[in-house]
Subunit: 233 residues, 2 copies
DNA sequence: TGATCGCGTGACAATTTGGTTACGGAATCG
DNA sequence: CGATTCCGTAACCAAATTGTCACGCGATCA
């Protein structure tokens, strides 16, 4: 599983070594030389994982880690600390500061990659999301099931995500651009009409349950999931 | 979370130090001076975790770890290795041999306890020895038997554990990565497709009993064991 | 009223994803 | 040790999914 990894390391040679190893394993790498640079990058785009040198010029790695943990948006990003060999207190302090793991320098590429993989996996299932319920519909992320009056619906992955988003933000008009951002991810470049097609597919899937009319079109603006469908006439 | 921890360490002073720390943290401690003693203890009663010195008289810690990983019953018991400071290859070899983590001597009690806690937390919910029953299926960990309507199923070790995990976590979608973690152990590095093949083998084994369709594919997400198979559309 | 615009709809080709089989190697069993 | 089972991976195939388009219809507006 390729991931976006931010490497925060002031020593150019080590940074390069890290980047090479990570890229060779298929990850994409962002680099920063100090906490300040790193903070800027993080603000711009959340990485999947941060490799953080303990000894940094300026703000220390530990302080930076603490900052990250304090910020609501970066709270969840796993951190692996790089410490000098045998700095025992550092390790403890690092774990205290919120690091998920640490690797000692000089590091073995294999171990580094192993730990990265382990941390990423451990993080993955942590989002325990609650089932959503709107109208007669029920969607459970954990079981990945959608039921309408005890009837089971079959949805493709995208339709599932789309419906999930709508159900967690009901009664509100979402533009096509917003939906592309929130459901597909803000890095994709797709035609806005694509949304129409998926809305159509969703409606079609809902149809046999009688819960169509749930997704309403707001002409000129976008779509909305109505908790209580507008009665006709 | 008090746990039963087996400490394998030949140096009496260190063993004592470890035991004191662990007991002070509420764990119960079993002690062994070498691999042979340890093997005997493990056979008698499975510990929740093994603290294993790398340098042991007689059989080395690495060899012992490998043995543990080979044995079906001890395969899942997490191992934390104790290595001398700075023995970098040892660490890698230890992880290869199946260790879940390592701690370098001299160790900080705080770090040790933190790592133990982390490893235990990762492993926690999979410790049931109760027979599981889902659909018409029954799986008994004690007798290592799987029966479907009084028909007996022949499963390989991996398929058995896979089915066991699914049956103890039914209705929930598990990604391939999650399954690798929970069924194989998070120290292994396998292709995700491997899961597919084992799922296939499981389904095949289930087939003659009529209890196929029990394991459902959730496209784009993973697999799920359905308590009540989805009625056809 | 004619021109546009917005959206529903069905079709399509390309891409993903999962199912299935085959195979070599390791481990296990007689 | 031979035979056999078990396992992980690669390769190939079938099916599902996806993003786009073209077409048509009703609404909107000048």
């Amino acid at each position: 599983m390729p991931a976006a990894i931010l490497v925060v390391e002031d020593e150019p040679a080590i940074q390069e070594l890290l980047a090479l190893n990570l890229e060779h394993a298929g990850h994409s790498v962002l680099r920063a030389r100090d906490a300040e640079q790193a903070a800027k990058l993080v603000r711009h785009a959340l990485p999947d994982l941060i490799l953080l040198d303990w000894m940094l010029p300026g703000q220390s790695g530990a302080a930076f880690a603490r900052d990250l943990r304090r910020d609501e948006r970066t709270k969840q990003v796993p951190i692996i600390m790089l410490t000098a060999r045998g700095q025992e207190q550092d390790k403890v302090a690092g774990l205290d500061a919120g690091a998920d793991d640490y690797v000692t320098k000089p590091f073995s590429p294999r171990e580094l990659l192993a730990r990265i993989k382990a941390v990423l996996r451990r993080r993955a299932p942590q989002r325990t999301e609650e089932p959503a319920e709107v109208g007669g519909l029920r969607l459970d992320p954990a079981t990945h099931r959608v039921t309408a009056d005890s009837r089971n619906l079959e949805l493709g992955p995208t339709e599932f995500r789309l419906l999930h988003f709508l159900m967690t933000h009901p009664e509100r008009v979402h533009s096509r651009a917003q939906l592309l951002d929130r459901v597909w991810g803000d890095h994709v470049f797709l035609e806005e009409r694509t949304v129409d097609v998926h809305i159509r597919r969703l409606r079609k899937a809902l149809e046999p349950t009688g819960h169509n009319r749930l997704i309403e079109t707001v002409r000129g603006s976008g779509y909305r999931l109505a908790a209580m469908p507008t009665s006709e006439v």
